[in-house]
Symmetry: C2
Subunit: 206 residues, 2 copies
């Protein structure tokens, strides 16, 4: 079994290897990969050894077989059906972002409580009333709900969404959600990335 710390790094390997394939690079050493990705070469060797390595002494890693193995582990060929709850700024930015579809995540509907938004569309995706969520989920299998609602409503919205049977929650609010064992919650904390940027700026003496 691969540790979650390694799993969390795999999308980044996936992106870099994807770029290398586009440049028609067939093999790469852990040292070269380390320079491109700003991760230590020993961390790369440690990570990639978790699932069979694919590296050979003196030859480096075979880019294509490594890419295929990471794709298999991440399951990039599987499609996920998603809805957005909260058609505000963040919800709109997510609905407009084309990369999710490329990674296998299809946003099929948006839900909101604001009458001025209901009946509209964002990037061709319909905005429905929250009152119709239960009926919608009865007719379409929904894997993931992206929650971009105001912080004060997050607990009630998360409970509503899981009560109609959705198992995957992508939570943009800063609040920790305590839901059933059967529900998977992935939190987005953009401030974490900003704090790392701050650390790196200070390490350079700025």
């Amino acid at each position: 079994k691969i540790s979650m710390a390694v799993i969390r790094r795999l999308p980044r390997y996936f992106r870099y290897l994807h770029d290398l394939l586009k440049l028609d690079i067939k093999r790469i050493s852990s040292r070269e990969l380390s320079e491109r990705m700003c991760i230590t070469a020993s961390q790369i060797r440690q990570d990639l050894n978790c699932f069979g390595g694919f590296g050979q002494q003196g030859y480096g890693y075979n880019v294509e077989s490594l890419y295929n193995e990471i794709s298999r582990i991440l399951g990039v060929d599987k499609r996920f059906t998603c809805i957005i709850v909260g058609a505000g700024n963040m919800g709109t930015a997510l609905a407009n972002y084309e990369n999710f579809k490329k990674r296998g995540f299809d946003i099929v509907a948006i839900f909101d409580v604001d009458p001025a938004k209901i009946g509209g569309k964002i990037n061709g995706i319909d905005i429905y009333s929250m009152d119709t969520l239960e009926d919608f989920v009865k007719q379409h299998k929904v894997d993931i709900a992206m929650l971009t609602v105001p912080n004060r409503t997050i607990t009630e919205v998360a409970e509503k969404v899981t009560s109609v049977g959705i198992k995957g929650i992508w939570n943009f609010s800063p609040h920790e959600l305590r839901l059933g064992e059967d529900v998977v919650v992935e939190n987005v904390h953009l401030s974490d990335s900003l704090m790392v940027l701050g650390y790196r700026l200070r390490s350079k003496g700025y």
Copy 2:
């Protein structure tokens, strides 16, 4: 020197320890912390040993001294002056997010090229024309530019921003930026987090 892999996990420890302090919890074992954070206890011990551990056999970790040490390493008491470039959906969502200020990141201005947006405000922050960026940066020290412009403009905008002397770039576009050695770029790839959610859902058999 602490590895970047550990540094990237520190904001998360910071948040959990912050919550524990609010609950008036004085000490915690690596096992308890592991359950709360869904990281293995051995990963926690390995991470925290990088900077002095603070753990004692049988007692666990002193929450307050661990929190203070992580705050010191991350430099949470330092303030960073930020601007947003691109007053669209993502830029608006960032300008409205109150957590950045709490973490020490002050958004002082927004820049755009759209005449309909210039002269307006988001969350009390003025939107200026890109033409005035150079003058603005001459009068105010700016540490970080948050780039939320359309993908096709990212290279030219990043070069403009670094040419006026800004050293920190928070890049929301999916494109890798190649800038000078003196510039620090932190990329945001929300699809990485979504791919981890997809992996976790499949591991549970959904």
